[in-house]
Subunit: 137 residues, 4 copies
């Protein structure tokens, strides 16, 4: 039902921990990149949203780490809108190793739309339209 | 039932995003610090564990972000062992603003004990003992 | 001639690279903490400066890395104002291992005072006063 | 005289500070990516070097930050080998905004070749050859 976006990410040296593994805190930076690019595909730059006083804050996350990503691995991140509420958007993520398609991690997030003061606001129509167009295509 | 450990953390400038808020990816770095200090209270240095070939990898996480932490805020992190399995440990976390005790975020993680090759192994007795001593005290 | 400030920092797991060493990019985060605490000693919170529309941006840095810092090492950072210009402040840093005093890294930075739009402005008197008081004490 | 390599980098949200600027500590992560890709162009994967017991540590850096990079900016990083010693390599970097070519930062680093124990060793011939081939082409 919902369109998905895909990006490629190469694991950086500074993101990898002493075990040689992508540190679990870094996955959330990747997932945020997935959301940004999904929005860009729909014609909206998140940087412009913030200039217009529309922000998204992360309210809730969950993640399952199945296999490690290592330094210099090329990864494929699939990001999907799974629910579009009045003021919240749920996303799901799947992060795979590109070379063999192995699933490394899956995750879910809920982001909330807020104004500059952090008050919850309705998602503006032009963002909602972009998201809905993606869902229909 | 289980002993809890508490540490204080001051939010660093480089950890804060353009909205002025502690980026959600950084909380996991703080929670890891909470685990490290809980282990140290029990007489075990995680750095020594790794030298002995015992590693912990993060298998599963969930987090709820209720109110933002800002640059230079002094925070209090409470870390608790909630389940001690054969090869896994569950922790729960509560991150509060120190000045007024406001709860900012809560989270749960499952870490798995692995050897240098990443194979799941039983948690060594000296770690288990340390954890159990904490649970009883 | 100028007063120095000292802080202790424990190296975090997520800051350490696959070689087991504090990644060279992290030192700059520590040095920034040194500047923040030096300012706080002088009675100025950098967070308040930004609310007042006064920002400091890093214009120039140099660093010499002599010996590695490792995960869980306790470090002592000494920060010193070495020059106080009209719109610029130079600092020097020495990062040592606490256990044996071994010098790990030294560095120098120049920060410039700017307004919200990034235009160079004179350092406000109350900051200058704070810095000069430190220099005299 | 020396071949240069170029990569594109998009500034991530989590890399940007409360002023909306790419934090100065992040530039070093980008420069490291530049070195990695320069080596890859020459047919050497840094990940393979480490497996072979050959490491490079950063000994000395300097950087000049001229204009800020902002969230979502697309940047062009040019990396160049400027000196190839027996055990050390010097690089120079220029980071520009892609849209208008504006120079944002320049930097210089010296990296030293070490073994697993951190002892300085001669740069292996196959790396030296790769670097020299680049210098000649």
């Amino acid at each position: 039902m919902h369109q998905t976006g895909q990006i490629e990410i190469r694991v950086r040296y500074a993101e990898v921990d002493p075990m040689g593994l992508l540190h679990h805190s870094r996955y959330w930076v990747y997932f945020e990149m997935g959301r940004t690019e999904l929005l860009r595909q729909a014609g909206v730059a998140y940087a412009d949203l913030e200039k217009a006083g529309v922000f998204f804050v992360v309210a809730k996350v969950s993640g399952q780490f199945r296999a490690p990503a290592r330094y210099d691995d090329l990864l494929t991140l699939t990001t999907q809108v799974t629910r579009l509420g009045a003021a919240r958007i749920d996303h799901a993520y799947q992060l795979c190793r590109k070379s063999d398609g192995q699933l490394l991690a899956s995750a879910q997030t809920t982001i909330a739309c807020v104004d500059r003061q952090g008050k919850i606001i309705a998602i503006p129509d032009f963002v909602r339209g972009a998201e809905e167009n993606k869902a229909e295509s």
